[in-house]
């Protein structure tokens, strides 16, 4: 993409340099509380996600320590259930979603040549709601009765029976939902209205496209989740019986509403990952993305299909055979656009001048390992198979391949890819490679044996298990400990990169294309005050 000039404030307004006081970042803690700058808010989102990753990760370590051998060693069953529930809620709403929103805040204005997000003050508010919600979720562990323990899916009747922490969790979900909806409105408005002249929709980087579609998904399903948990709230506190069978309500209805939100949510968690990978692979293959238009259409197809597959989460709940068949075939249909994407990533690499810096290593691992998660999803889509495997560790293996080696690996790849742009320093490649290899080897030791455990019939969400499951659990736990410990390397890489290192050029990676690489590294506090001209 050609740009006529280096479009920084300094370049566009000679005599009014970017380093001039009011154009730079204000100092002190107050800067972060009051900031309306998309780069600051992106940074805040990413640090929030990192903090929550530590909390949710520590919970996972306790879970794996308990499952290291049969019997109860580390925590009581009540605490175990709280840990699995909070681990799920924190990783989904506190890590993956905020991390991708952090990337969106940093990258979307830079990629489309906008000066900032469309609603900077709402952007600040969207972020600052999150720590409040996170504090409610984690803080509920210290309330009488402990935190929620009924699973992240919040099914009644369990969720109608718990203590005060259940109300607090519902409140936290409401707050996070409001934050997500405001964030989505901001992203859609920015992309639709603030693109630089010449940046038409089909010229936008794929990361922007995937986020545009993700934001529409958020607008469509977060209010439905809000509706579902509001009904839980009124059932619990205001005498309604939406989901209480004793009062004529229908607990299964909650599951339908929840999964009408829940399945698109899965794509909210993975579509931005597709965008990041689609940015990285062309850079390190030194070729344009293969099949750009088909990538856009595939993303849109996945998003549309995601609304008609929710029933596959409920095959064993009870539904007519015709419905089971519909949801089964609709689910399998998603493999087609997803296959288009995997094909295009491989075709982009085909005969490219490939180099394997850390972002590319994570991107290639993403393509291989996410595909394993996709395939096990296809296996689970088959009704007769799902009837056998539902609520077993096979399901746990499946969604961890999708969300850890999928979404999380894309986040790792994105961090290694854009961190030099954000900080102005190159990352430590040696440490990055250590982080990659340790993570990639250990994550497979952690999650692959779970397929075997599930096939052998080990149920999920249990703190103790029969002796025949001991060996694979021990292997998985060992993998988990190494995977957890290797994330310390990521923290070291990030802190080192922020504090110093080799100077990064404007175009950090030789093959990188796009507007963000025309800006200096790090970019000035305000960028594209005047829109760049695209040729």
């Amino acid at each position: 993409m050609n740009v006529s000039a280096n479009p920084t404030v300094e370049a566009l307004e000679p005599g009014h340099p970017a380093a001039h006081g009011h154009h730079g970042a204000p100092a002190g803690l107050w800067r972060w509380v009051t900031t309306t700058n998309h780069k600051d808010i992106g940074t805040l989102y990413l640090w929030f996600a990192a903090t929550m990753f530590l909390v949710g990760g520590l919970m996972a370590m306790v879970i794996r320590a308990e499952l290291f051998q049969p019997g109860l060693q580390v925590v009581q069953p009540e605490m175990f259930n709280q840990l699995t529930t909070l681990h799920g809620l924190i990783m989904i709403f506190g890590v993956i979603m905020p991390a991708f929103t952090g990337f969106a805040n940093w990258q979307i204005p830079l990629m489309i040549g906008a000066p900032d997000m469309a609603f900077p003050r709402m952007n600040n508010w969207s972020f600052w709601l999150l720590p409040v919600a996170g504090a409610f979720l984690i803080g509920s562990m210290f309330l009488p009765g402990g935190a929620v323990a009924g699973g992240w899916t919040m099914y009644p009747p369990l969720y109608l029976q718990g203590g005060i922490s259940y109300d607090l969790t519902i409140f936290a979900i409401h707050i996070m939902g409001a934050s997500s909806i405001m964030g989505a409105i901001n992203i859609i408005t920015t992309i639709l209205n603030l693109r630089a002249p010449g940046m038409n929709l089909m010229r936008m980087p794929l990361f922007v496209w995937t986020w545009l579609i993700t934001a529409f998904l958020l607008i469509a399903v977060m209010p439905v989740l809000a509706g579902a948990v509001t009904m839980l709230l009124t059932d619990r506190n205001f005498g309604t019986h939406f989901f209480s069978a004793a009062g004529g309500g229908d607990p299964v209805m909650f599951q339908h509403i929840f999964w009408f939100f829940g399945h698109p949510e899965v794509y909210i968690l993975i579509l931005p990952a597709f965008g990041i990978i689609s940015s990285i692979i062309p850079t390190f293959a030194r070729k344009p993305l293969f099949g750009y238009a088909s990538m856009v259409y595939a993303t849109a197809s996945i998003a549309i299909l995601s609304f008609i597959v929710w029933g596959h989460h409920m095959f064993t709940v009870g539904m007519p055979a015709a419905m089971q068949l519909f949801f089964m075939y609709a689910t399998m249909l998603i493999a087609v656009p997803t296959g288009v994407k995997v094909f295009n990533w491989v075709a982009t690499m085909w005969k490219g001048s490939l180099t394997f810096e850390t972002p590319m290593l994570f991107a290639v691992a993403f393509v291989c390992l996410f595909t394993i998660g996709g395939f096990s999803g296809l296996v689970l889509a088959m009704v007769p198979v799902d009837v056998q495997l539902q609520d077993t560790y096979y399901v746990v293996a499946h969604f961890h391949y999708v969300l850890v080696t999928g979404a999380l690996f894309a986040i790792f790849a994105g961090i290694y890819y854009w961190l030099p742009k954000w900080t102005g320093h190159m990352v430590d490649e040696t440490l990055g490679r250590w982080h990659f290899w340790l993570s990639t080897l250990s994550v497979n030791v952690l999650f692959f044996p779970m397929h075997f455990l599930g096939l052998a019939g080990m149920p999920r969400r249990i703190p103790d298990y029969a002796l025949q499951f001991a060996d694979f659990n021990r292997i998985a736990s060992l993998g988990g400990f190494v995977f957890g410990a290797s994330q310390i390397l990521l923290l070291v890489v990030i802190v080192k990169c922020i504090r110093g290192g080799a100077k990064a050029e404007a175009r950090v990676w030789e093959g990188a294309q796009g507007l963000e690489w025309t800006l200096p590294s790090p970019p000035p506090y305000h960028t594209f005050a005047t829109p760049p001209e695209l040729k």
Partner: protein, 32 residues
């Protein structure tokens, strides 16, 4: 208010309206 600000506001209000409608349908719609 500039034309761009007006456009931004229209986009945002439309999206917020859709979100509110979906919330009400999934919540109050169940009563009907």
């Amino acid at each position: 208010m500039t034309e761009l600000e007006r456009r931004n506001q229209r986009t945002a209000l439309t999206l917020a309206g859709v979100a509110l409608a979906l919330f009400l349908i999934s919540f109050l719609g169940y009563l009907a």
